[in-house]
Symmetry: C2
Subunit: 369 residues, 2 copies
């Protein structure tokens, strides 16, 4: 079965919706934790269920290299391989080619680049990306795209955007997993007309949903928000919209306000491994000496396992000693933080109080120490 | 309250017993997972409860350095600090001085050595070790001892053994935590008469239990088993006996056969971090290529969380990619393996089938691939 999106209500451009998948129905807008290598770093599926994580993202490029899509296929697909019973979205590898490969040769056919693991020459094409994702058997697959660097010349961005549309078409033609939905990805760099062009042309190909790509590549916030605005008005209201790689607490609010339904980001787990925690008053770094004798939880009102059971002093101790449990406890808190924020955002759309919620959240968050 | 040991029954020298502590009563013989830095690496207390781990060990030397016993004291003791509601045993630091310090200066007063973290000069005395443990508020503390290297000259071993007895006496005199029991440690190196002397003199000081130390320092198995035999016959039957740092599956059987009640070892978690798993047929290394497409659990009949939910192929993938979840899943399996072995050992003592159980276990274990 393909996914089914139902728009429940709008508050201005913000959308409250439902997404039905083969692994359960969840409410949108939603934040998706990242499970790059078929696991959300340090965590089990049960821990994700416990924090009400409804859907995760996994990375096609990484799974292609290790363990290889054929192993995952033989295991019965990604859900069975990692023993995860919720919906899984896979990206296309386009972003990893951009972010991990130091040198790459982009042709009409695909991208030649070197493995970030052993330097082996790799060739990824729109067809191969889809074929890998078909085998991974994720619930939602992404079209292969080029993530345009920022800044990029208009000429470069235009040629790349046009090619990404041709790639999307080629990928769609070989896609053949009836239980997997396929999203098109909007590119266009920072250019308004290219974003409009990309949105319109991609929508013509009739995908199950639409992603906004090419953000979080070094651009400033205003540019990022513009990239969303330029494209989103051309997307159909009956399909989910996914803003790729964005997970800062305030960016989630800005995205939702503009009509985004889905977000993913490695930020909560990456910050955790470096000893950082989200709080409503901003990020804190648990390595800070001032937490040495702080026997209170990261946040008093947080309902996560970590805050219900451990103090800042204990987590600081674990992080200081490089004990993995520290990163694990912070990952639980940070992911739950973003999921809880999204729960509250959905509630505020429902109650027509999104603007107040956003204002209040930002005011408090910027009071960070 | 101090611990209370009750001997339920003997099967030859093997003992089935009960140990009552402030944090619950457990059956002996027992295996204790090691939580060096106030956590069993990668695991939460709940995971330890789930695998029926009844008691853990934590390291005084490590906690003295980080976070420092005063922080733990201010947190309300080690149980509160790490949010663990089972009994905790702390060692004395003697073994770490032996194993971690490259240069040390042992005097009658104590040991001068350098921190393994920053090279800072440290001075640990029998009194200080006990005072630190008093503050950590573990349920069972250890006397400060010198762990004699193997091999050691008779003269060295004799002088050291005599000094360890004087240290035990000094430590006992300053011990002042009414909720904490204190064990004496038998040393004597590989020498029968010194082990006998150490046991008799330590017992004269009337501790709440007795540890056999100075094993697992490079000696062969026969020597290790002799070290137990030489001492254990002089220990009172109404006090628990603890063999320090021993956790190989077959060594547990050999120890129990000789009358040991308690064991600890970092082996299950250390092996896990290197991709190794215990099985009834011997250790296996999950990094081995032959597990790449092995979609069966580590052990079919294992009741641990890992074996009930994950395949060797998946764990191999995690370990190969340095994903921490791999070490976590293997830690769960390996600790549960030893705890389950001890459950079966206790059952066999109860049923007078220990000899058959041991023979069967060893026969199968040595068939390892």
């Amino acid at each position: 079965m393909k996914i089914k999106y139902e728009l429940i209500k709008n508050y201005k451009k913000a959308r409250l919706g439902k997404l039905k998948t083969n692994y359960g129905t969840f409410d949108t807008p939603i934040f998706m934790p990242v499970g790059t290598l078929a696991n959300v770093k340090t965590l089990t599926p049960e821990e994700l269920y416990d924090m009400h994580s409804a859907v995760i993202l996994s990375n096609t490029y990484h799974l292609w290299l290790r363990p290889g899509e054929d192993i995952v296929d033989k295991a019965g697909g990604l859900h069975k391989f990692m023993n995860y019973n919720g919906p899984i979205l896979t990206d296309s590898g386009g972003f990893q080619v951009f972010s991990l490969a130091k040198k790459k040769d982009i042709t009409e056919e695909g991208v030649i680049f070197k493995s970030h693991i052993d330097g082996k020459k790799l060739f990824l094409t729109p067809e191969l990306s889809i074929q890998i994702q078909n085998k991974l058997d994720s619930d939602i697959a992404m079209s292969f795209d080029e993530c345009i660097p920022y800044p990029a010349s208009y000429e470069y961005a235009k040629a790349s955007t046009e090619r990404t549309i041709r790639w999307a078409k080629r990928g769609k033609e070989v896609h053949n997993n009836p239980n997997q939905s396929l999203f098109g990805i909007i590119q266009g760099g920072e250019y308004q007309d290219l974003r409009e062009y990309s949105a319109k042309e991609t929508v013509k190909l009739d995908f199950d949903g639409y992603s906004i790509g090419g953000t979080s590549v070094g651009e400033d916030k205003v540019t990022m928000y513009n990239m969303i605005d330029y494209a989103i008005k051309y997307l159909p209201i009956d399909k989910p919209r996914y803003l790729m790689g964005v997970g800062e607490p305030i960016d989630l609010l800005e995205g939702v306000e503009r009509g985004v339904d889905m977000f993913d980001c490695v930020l909560p787990t990456r910050l955790a491994r470096h000893g950082n925690a989200f709080t409503r008053k901003g990020r804190i770094n648990l390595k800070n000496l001032k937490y040495k004798e702080d026997f209170t939880p990261i946040e008093d009102n947080c309902d996560c396992y970590t805050c219900k059971n451990y103090t800042k002093a204990y987590i600081r101790h674990l992080i200081t000693c490089d004990e993995m449990l520290g990163g694990r406890l912070l990952s639980i808190h940070n992911i739950r933080f973003l999921i809880k924020e999204m729960e509250e955002i959905r509630e505020s759309i429902k109650n027509d109080t999104f603007d107040e919620y956003k204002e209040q959240f930002i005011k408090q968050y910027k009071n960070s120490d």
